[in-house]
Every structure is written in C-alpha cells, then in structure tokens.
C-alpha cells in the first residue's frame, strides 16, 4: 500500500495582518513548507479557504496562489467546506497521492478575515449556515453555538463556569506557540468575568477570527531519500462525513455524529484504538464544540465532555492532551487555514519539534476539522514514523 507522508510543513503567525494580502500570506506558508520538504516540486495544489469570495471579493484561489507562488502549469483548485475547508483540502491532497496519480501534492489553507470588519464579518460567516432558514432570522454562528450550549447546560446541569477549562488549557498552551495569536495564559477569573456575546456563550468561549496560512507538502514515502532531513509523519487515516447544514434539522443536536463517524473510520484505517491516540486537536471554534467532539469521539461519555476540561484531563500532562499548540481559541481561528494548521502542529508534535509543549513519546495524533456544528467533519490520524 502507498504510504502518504507529510514531507514539509509551513505556517504564518495567526493575527491581524493588515499589511499582508491573501496571496502573500498563502505564499509565505508555501515557501516554508516546500523548503522544509527539501525542495519537492508539487504537481497539484489544493487550497483550503472558507470565505475569500465574500471577505476579499476574490474567487479562483487555486490559480491566484499557484501563479503567485511560481507554480503555474500545475493543477490548482480550491476546496470549500466552511470551517472544515482546511481538513477537506488536506484530504484531497491525501487522496491524490494515495491514488498514485500524483507524486507530490501541496495543500495550503489560507484565510484573510481582516479584509472586512465588524458586522460584515458576522454576516459573511453566517452564509455558512442555512441562509434561508437560519441566517435570515439573524442567527450568527456564535448564536448557533449558544443555542447548543444553552440546551447542553440545561440537560446536563453544567455550572456557569463549566466550560472554562477549554479556554484555560488553550491559552496556557498558546503561550509557547510562536505562531499563536494569543500567547498568554489566563486565569479562571478572566473567563468568569468575560463579556457575554450570546448568552451563555462569552468572549472566552469563542475563538478569535484572524488571518493566517498554513501549508503541508505530501508525498509517497518511497519518493523520499533514506537520509531525509527530518523525521517523517504518515497520514495513517483519513475520513470525512456530513450532517444537516441547519442545526434545527438534527435528530439529536447534542451528539456530533460526524465526529464519531469520521474519527472511527480514520482510526480503523490506521489500525489503532482510541487509547493509542496520544493527543487530539479538536475544532474549538466554540468551547461547546470541543466538549461535543470529546464526547462523540469517545474520550468522554455524553454530557461529560466539559468535565474532562474542568478536571484538567485535556492539559499537556492530562489523560488526553488537546489543543496542544493553543487550538483555535489561542492560536486563532484562521477559517479555511485551520485544518492545515492542525496538521502542521500535529506533525511538529510527532517529529518531536513542539518545544515546551512537546507530548513526550507521542506516536499518534487525531485531528478534526469541522464546518458548522459538525455539519462537516474531516478526521485524520497522523503517525510519527521515527
């Protein structure tokens, strides 16, 4: 069987890059990833992007970026699945190499939020929900997450500060990530006193929208020289699943079916069970999403995902470390780049290059890229080979 490996990784700092455009941001990550791969020449480019046609009035990113990066001639397309665009692009790159039709695939995730400001950004984000039956009611993505969180807290009697553990862990981990938007640990008090955005969701339950780009170079293991410059990371499992676009159409909205389905498939392909996963990069765009992913994947029973965070079990030294480089909450939510950031961070963990946040002896990492409230979930299992 073809083994697909991550040969190169690159990422930009996540933040408000007023002075850097979409194409420049993408190229910065691509440049670093190709250099890290020892100069491999990609034959295909898959761009993960969520909202450029809306935020930047720019479509056709595949060509825009291939052109700007000096890669003209190669296949270049955009993959869009809302917040899961990055994970979906990664999967397309994986499939291309796995099929044997492409030797080297380049995947770049990029988002440029600051091309728009204020209420326009919320309106743009809301286009990823059901425009006719959710957004038309003035529902924002934060509002949608708040509806979930309210019901969850009602059913499981969660205390008001029950979700604080997610933000505390994320910010503590982000402190040691030079590419994170927020690099400072926070206190419980910061969470409990935070401004309410959509009751019961406060500022610290929400990942900040920010600019960023991340890239990976994928290839077959047998293409690389034996004395390759750094440890290899294999994509050992890859799967995606879909659920209703609108939250109100779910049979059971408090269970993220697609998170369970795609993680189960990816782990089966990798030949591992849940206990073998050394760390989990979830899509904590909202803290309630993180809790529901922990439950669906199986790290916690239904209604107890928040408890795992509250008890410190998701910290670097906990039972299942999560958001090891800050997650969406502290690294920042760079839209369609997010899933590729997860891959870059997980690869660094598995190479032993995660610095102060290194999970000792990490062999398997599970990453989940999510669009909407688990309307799309793309799961990958990464495996360190050395």
């Amino acid at each position: 069987m073809t083994e697909v490996v991550i040969a190169g990784i690159g990422q930009t700092e996540v933040g408000e890059h007023w002075d850097i455009g979409l194409r420049d941001l993408a190229y910065a990550a691509i440049h670093d990833a190709i250099e890290d791969s020892g100069g491999l020449k990609p034959q295909s480019l898959f761009v993960g992007n969520m909202l450029a046609p809306n935020l930047s009035n720019q479509a056709h990113l595949g060509v825009l970026i291939a052109d700007f990066a000096g890669l003209l001639g190669i296949e270049a397309v955009t993959v869009e699945a809302a917040g899961a665009s990055g994970g979906a692009a990664l999967r397309q790159g994986y499939l291309a190499v796995k099929s044997g039709l492409v030797d080297v695939a380049l995947v770049v995730g990029v988002e440029k939020f600051t091309d728009k400001v204020g209420a326009g950004v919320d309106a743009a984000l809301a286009t990823t929900s059901d425009s006719d039956f959710e957004a038309v009611q003035g529902l924002t993505l934060a509002g949608q997450a708040a509806l979930l969180m309210k019901r969850y807290m009602h059913e499981y009697q969660v205390p008001a500060d029950g979700f604080a553990g997610f933000a505390l862990t994320a910010h503590a981990n982000g402190a040691n990530n030079p590419c994170a938007m927020f690099r400072k640990a926070i206190k419980l008090e910061t969470y409990t006193k935070a401004e309410m955005v959509s009751d019961p969701l406060n500022m610290f339950d929400i990942a900040p929208n920010a600019d960023g780009a991340a890239a990976v170079v994928l290839t077959r293991r047998d293409v690389l020289p034996k004395d390759f410059a750094h440890p290899l990371v294999k994509i050992a499992g890859s799967a995606a699943a879909s659920d209703t676009l609108a939250l109100h159409d779910r049979k059971d909205m408090l269970y993220f079916d697609t998170a369970q389905l795609s993680a189960g498939k990816a782990m089966k392909q990798a030949g591992i069970i849940l206990d073998q996963v050394n760390f989990f990069e979830y899509h904590d765009m909202f803290s309630i999403y993180a809790a529901l992913q922990l439950e669906a994947v199986g790290f916690a029973i239904k209604g107890k995902g928040w408890k795992l965070a509250a008890d410190g079990e998701i910290r670097l030294k906990g039972r299942i470390p999560c958001a090891t480089m800050g997650g969406l909450k502290a690294r920042g939510f760079a839209g369609g780049a997010t899933g590729v950031y997860q891959a870059v961070e997980a690869a660094a963990q598995l190479r032993g290059q995660a610095g102060a946040n290194q999970i000792a002896g990490a062999k398997y990492g599970l990453i989940q890229s999510m669009g909407g409230p688990a309307s799309t979930v793309v799961s990958h299992v990464l495996q360190g080979l050395n």
Binding site: G118, A119, G120, D122, A123, L125, A126, D130, D132, F133, E134, A135, V136, Q137, G138, L139, T140, A142, G143, A146, L147, L148, K150, R151, H154, M196, V197, S198, D199, P200, L201, A246, L247, H248, D249
Partner: protein, 131 residues
Amino acid sequence: MEIPRHWRLKQQRYSLVGEVCPHCDNKIFPPRDVCPNCGGEAKELYTFSGKGEVYSFTTIYEAPSGFDANAPYTVALVKLEEGPMVTAQLTDLDNAPVEIGMPVEMVTRKMRNDGDERGIIVYGYKFRLRK
C-alpha cells in the same frame, strides 16, 4: 437584492407551509423533497399550526449586518407541535423571562432590511409567548 429568493419562500415565511410524507406521515419543515425519516419522496404540502415550545434560546448582542438596528434580540429553537424544529426570533417579549419549555406561537413580523439602497423589507415568522 435577492427579491426572487424571498418571494419564492413566501409560503414558508408567512404561513409555515411545509410538507407531509405520504409514506410515513412525517411532518417536514422547512420543505425538502426527500423525507429525512424514511427516504421516500415527499412533496405534499402541509400547513403547520404554528404552535410549539422553546427548546433552546439565546440573546444576540453582536448582530450581523442587516440586523444591527434590532440588537440585542432573542433567537430560539422552537420545537413545533407536529415534530420539526425551527430557528426563529422570539418577539413581543416585553422583558418577560424566557425559559426552555415555554409554549410559543407563530406570528408574522418584519425580519430585516435587505440592504440600504432600494432595500426590500423581509417579512417572516417569529414566535411569541403563548398564554
């Protein structure tokens, strides 16, 4: 802006017209032509009573463009008596506290101004507390 789109949805917006599945009697809103319960084709129209209860709710303080003038406002998931759930604003609250499980009923209200220029006004369903 988007006039055909809002016109096309007027039956749903003004009178909660959905569908009933001829195979399994499942009531469907918003209409979709494949029954999510049995997978059969469902195209028979069905008008909902507009009665339901609050399944969850939240107050939106940071509104998207088109809605900023009304912020803060309350959006709920309303479980209709006939089964389906809808996302809708709660209205006519007069500061009454909202709770999960509260009975509500559908009313027609102004939902948003679609742009400023020749801005059409979109009307549609909201829900108010049912005595």
